[in-house]
């Protein structure tokens, strides 16, 4: 088991490095933070001297070629030797050394600090949404399959199709406005529609967590929608297949109680496709936060990366992409382990 986990983690390293290279090349070649900074300075109406441009380039490491910049971003080393910090960097770059690179927002802004402040806020939302979508998808998928072609099945199927076709941002806006109207109508403040927690709230991590729960509800519902739609369809299809299989018929023929057949024979096998799909849903949620956090005014990683995109802050974008890549890969690992729990034919030795 432990050997299996270690082997899987080692296999993930090249995937992570590959995706970081790809993301870096795409982001680096599509945006030009130096030109953007110079443009913003020119808005002041004055000519920007060459020395200023050179200083900006040097601060953002844009006086180097792209491969050099990637290597620098990864290792923080100017020479092609890892852990040798003799190079002429400002000591603010090199992911392997815990430095996330300079921000275009100014030298006082540390990308690493900004990210770590917001990481738990966003992870909370993403995990809540993924777990909610998996849970509800299993429930409705199983109900649909057990009562195949009933009114319940038809309405759940229709809701599934509708959810699949619903743009998340539109649904989120509708949800938010409906909550605001309800708050007004009932003269209460039950529904929290803005921010990730009470403003200026300070306390122990537990108190902060409890304070944030009501704020979590609406964004979670909105973010869970897309993942739910696809997974409930898979769950229904796989449950139907299992219910029509010979071994379930045999179990029934032996006189096993219906509840036991469902729980022990049918559901366990029918959950395997969900385990495959869950990481995809997690990846979708990691991208979806950029929309949801913007609509609900959250100051998390999604909002942060949106600002980074607007300001052409390449190293901040890379930080978000790397973090969400790691989260998705952890999700893949968990789903691999779940296979072992669900499928008795798989043994991790």
């Amino acid at each position: 088991m432990v050997v299996f986990i270690i082997r899987r983690i080692l296999l993930m390293v090249p995937v992570l490095v590959g995706s970081s290279i790809l993301a870096f090349v795409l982001i680096d070649s599509s945006s030009d933070p130096v030109a953007q900074q110079v443009f913003e300075l020119q808005q002041g109406g004055e000519e920007v001297p060459q020395s200023t441009i050179d200083a900006i380039e040097a601060r953002l490491y844009y006086d180097r070629s792209m491969p050099e910049r990637y290597w620098l971003w990864l290792t923080g080393s100017d020479d092609l030797v890892v852990w040798d910090n003799e190079g002429e960097t400002n000591g603010d770059i090199g992911v392997l050394q815990g430095e996330w690179g300079p921000s275009t927002e100014g030298s006082s802004v540390d990308v690493g600090e900004e990210i770590s402040e917001r990481f738990w806020i966003t992870l909370r939302l993403v995990l809540a949404a993924t777990i909610a979508s998996i849970g509800i998808a299993i429930l409705t998928g199983v109900l649909s399959a057990v009562r195949q072609y009933s009114k319940l099945d038809y309405s759940l199927t229709f809701i599934g199709f509708l959810a699949l076709a619903m743009p998340t941002f539109w649904f989120a806006q509708l949800l938010k406005e409906a909550a605001i109207q309800l708050n007004k109508g009932l003269n209460t403040g039950i529904f929290k529609t803005y921010g990730e927690g009470s403003t200026g709230f300070r306390g122990t991590p537990w108190e902060v967590f409890v304070d944030s729960l009501p704020f979590l509800i609406l964004p979670t519902v909105a973010l869970a929608l897309t993942g739910y739609a696809a997974m409930s369809r898979y769950q229904r299809a796989s449950m139907l297949e299992v219910l029509n299989s010979d071994y379930v018929r045999l179990a029934r023929a032996k006189g096993v109680r219906n509840r036991t057949v469902m729980r022990r024979h049918a559901l366990r096998t029918a959950l395997i496709p969900i385990a495959t799909f869950a990481p995809i849903s997690l990846a979708g949620a990691m991208g979806g936060v950029i929309v949801i956090e913007r609509i609900f005014g959250w100051d998390g990683l999604g909002g942060y990366s949106y600002d980074a995109i607007i300001h052409g802050d390449t190293f901040a974008m890379m930080a978000y992409l790397l973090i969400s890549g790691i989260v998705v890969l952890i999700g893949v690992l968990v789903s691999d382990l779940l296979y072992g729990v669900l499928d008795p034919r798989i043994r991790y030795e």
């Binding site: 982001i27 076709a165 991208g287 992409l321």
Partner: protein, 306 residues
């Protein structure tokens, strides 16, 4: 026995002619009522978007000299109302639907083609080619699609046009198609007709394009319909964020952004609901069409539904 019964028997005898694959598929498809209704609706939406602008008086632009800059609700003169700057919403909806559909259709063609070729090549050659291509898929999968697409679309100089959006979405949208086609090809390549093609000296290119891809058509067409839904939702999301199609051009996402969420429950409700419902309608109908096609093309499917 009456004459009519005899006639019926004779008629039935005549109809037992050979039916082509496509005739069978269309017959099965037209039995799926939801899919047929959806197909009709989808065609109507396409006509609305591409023929509508030729028929309707107003376009998506502002006409300050002819239209007062106040928002008015739906009326005979403006069936979808006008927005605060006096823009006719029916004209704007036509143009916006057109832009969003253009992106979706180009993405469907582009990414389906790319995915089909990559999937077929990976599945056919296996070995090193397969592992390299599938690692590329894994690597792309780890990067959150929406963020990277937003980053690229947001940094296009002068704002992105519909073809920029189509290109970006197609470049990231082919992963699922490639996976599905590869799985299908992996089983197909062991079949006798592929072996026969190889035995008579068919080149790899010939086998992939003339034998493997045509035989995975059902998978490819179904995933193309899913691509349309995926593209329309992604494009509207990016445009909503302000990172997609830019004004003065318009898109369904941009119209929803313009309406603002407050519009959902006030007098300007039509600004919020009409574009939103249009996105849902497009994605919903195309999903049903895909569902119907999948049922129709499944060789295990019998002629009788249920």
């Amino acid at each position: 026995m009456s004459d009519t019964t005899v006639n019926r028997f004779e008629n039935e005898a005549i109809t037992t002619t050979e039916r082509s694959q496509w005739a069978l598929i269309t017959r099965r498809f037209f039995r799926h009522r939801m899919a047929v209704v959806s197909l009709v609706l989808f065609v109507l939406i396409v006509l609305f978007a591409f023929v509508g602008p030729w028929v309707w008086t107003w376009d998506h632009r502002l006409h300050p000299d002819q239209l007062p800059s106040t928002s008015t609700g739906p009326s005979l003169a403006h069936p979808f109302g006008t927005d605060a700057s006096g823009r006719d919403m029916l004209g704007a909806m036509m143009k916006a639907t057109q832009q969003s559909l253009l992106v979706a259709l180009v993405v469907a063609v582009g990414s389906t083609f790319l995915g089909a070729v990559v999937g077929a090549v990976a599945g056919y050659f296996r070995g090193a080619v397969d592992s390299i291509l599938m690692r590329v898929v894994d690597v792309l999968f780890v990067i959150p699609f929406l963020v990277i697409a937003a980053a690229i679309a947001g940094s296009i100089d002068g704002g992105s046009k519909w073809y920029h959006m189509a290109f970006i979405l197609a470049a990231f949208g082919w992963l699922s198609t490639a996976r599905a086609v590869r799985a299908e090809v992996l089983s197909l390549r062991e079949k006798e007709f592929i072996e026969a093609a190889r035995a008579v000296g068919g080149s790899s290119g010939h086998i992939v394009f003339k034998h493997l891809i045509p035989n995975t058509m059902s998978v490819i067409i179904v995933s193309a319909t899913l691509q349309i839904a995926f593209a329309i939702l992604s494009e509207t999301t990016l445009s909503f964020l302000g990172l997609g199609i830019q004004p003065p051009d318009t898109s369904l996402g941009l119209l929803i952004q313009d309406a603002g969420s407050a519009a959902a429950f006030n007098d300007e409700w039509y600004l919020f609901y009409i574009p939103g419902v249009m996105v849902i309608l497009i994605a919903l109908t195309i999903n049903f069409v895909g569902d119907g096609l999948r049922d129709a093309m499944d060789p295990r499917q019998t002629m009788v539904r249920r």
